[in-house]
Amino acid sequence: MLRKLALRMIWVGFVAASAAACGGAAVPQETLTAAQASVKGAEVGGANEDPKAQLHLKLANEQIDKAKKLIEDGKNEEAARVIDRAQADAELALALAQQTKAMKDAKDADESLGKLKRKLSQ
């Protein structure tokens, strides 16, 4: 039983080592940091106030967490791809939040105009 466990551990160690060797890629720290910054930017930009933006923000966060785990596991190449996805979601979240804000501003401006016109026509 013990022997079996030891063997298993060796096997796991081998697999991990080979995966790292196989990935060969460096830890995608730079893109990860960039993606995290984009997520922050989207949050500041109001992504939490718009449902669709919020969804993409959530996806970005989930994928960043996933990427961190992959890096821990030495799966850097896969992590890099997941980070790219997270980056795309974070950027989209910000763009959606900005669109929503601009549309709200336009609606407000239109309403103000309507109010003023009604007032003037009295």
Partner: protein, 291 residues
């Protein structure tokens, strides 16, 4: 040999099946997203972002061609779909900003217009109030002038009355103001030419009448009852005419003054006494007042 061929066949079939691999759902979504974005506002309002999306899609398509639906095709397609959506969102933002700007401009224009309108209304109101003020002032002035004029007229009339009373008997009767001039002061016996002293008195009367104002004047000649009535009538008429003519010559409008000879028909005293007869010989100037 046969087995080998079969194996090759199988392998070939497998590859063929591989070549016919359906695109991963991420790629299908990415194509749709890009198609929608390129046909929408993004082409005009977010061309750079749309181009980035196109490049991302091309990369995913190339990966699909080279690697099939395996890694990294789904990841690239996932990214391409988001890039296309980002282009759309950027365009939507730009359009909304454009709308807001337009509305802001219209708002400002309307505000200015409203301001102008309000200004014009205020100006109009001010002009109106100034006009009203001026009219009030004018009215006040006119009223004041009228008051002054009326007071002046009253004063003149009072003065005229006073001066009349000095030279003649003045009575207020229902038919008007009656100025009675004694016949002996005006005429020589049996004559109807005015005596010089009569002219002086009538000058005063004419002035007083002019000052006082009147509607119409009737000059009545009266005699005592001595002599023939027809003679008396004639004489009284001639005397009244003389007075009338003289007053007209002193500025009394001829169309406002008439004369009548009443003879002895309206005595004011007893014809049986000399004093009474003297009182009956007279000229009465009956003045109808203005009101």
């Amino acid at each position: 040999m046969f087995r080998l061929t079969s194996l090759a066949c199988l392998a070939f079939l497998g590859v063929a099946a591989c070549g016919a691999t359906l695109p991963p759902p991420e790629l299908v979504d990415a194509r749709k997203a890009y198609d929608r974005a390129s046909k929408g506002l993004a082409a005009q309002l977010a061309p750079a972002q749309l181009d980035t999306a196109k490049q991302a899609l091309d990369k995913a398509e190339k990966s699909f061609e080279d690697q099939g639906d395996g890694v990294p095709t789904p990841d690239l397609a996932y990214i391409a779909e988001r890039k296309a959506e980002l282009a759309e969102a950027t365009a939507g933002k730009a359009a909304a900003e454009r709308d807001a700007e337009g509305a802001d401009k219209k708002f400002k224009d309307a505000q200015l217009e409203g301001l102008d309108k309000t200004k014009a209304e205020l100006n109009k109101e001010r002009q109106n109030s100034e006009k009203t003020k001026a009219e009030l002032e004018q009215e006040k002035k006119e009223l004041g002038e009228e008051k002054v004029a009326r007071a002046e007229a009253e004063r003149k009339a009072a003065a005229a009355m006073a001066s009349l009373q000095e030279i003649a008997k003045v009575k207020e009767e229902a038919r008007g103001m009656v100025i009675t001039l004694s016949g002996s002061v005006l005429f020589a016996t049996g004559k109807y030419e005015l005596l010089p002293i009569a002219r002086d008195k009538l000058d005063e009367v004419a002035k007083a009448l002019s000052d006082q104002g009147f509607k119409s004047i009737v000059v009545e000649g009266h005699t005592d009852s001595k002599g023939r009535a027809s003679d008396n009538d004639m004489l009284s008429l001639k005397r009244a005419d003389s007075v009338r003519s003289y007053l007209v010559s002193r500025g009394i409008p001829s169309d406002k003054i008439t004369s009548q000879g009443l003879g002895s028909s309206r005595p004011v005293a007893d014809n049986g006494t000399a004093d009474g007869r003297a009182n009956n010989r007279r000229v009465e100037i009956v003045v109808s007042p203005l009101k």
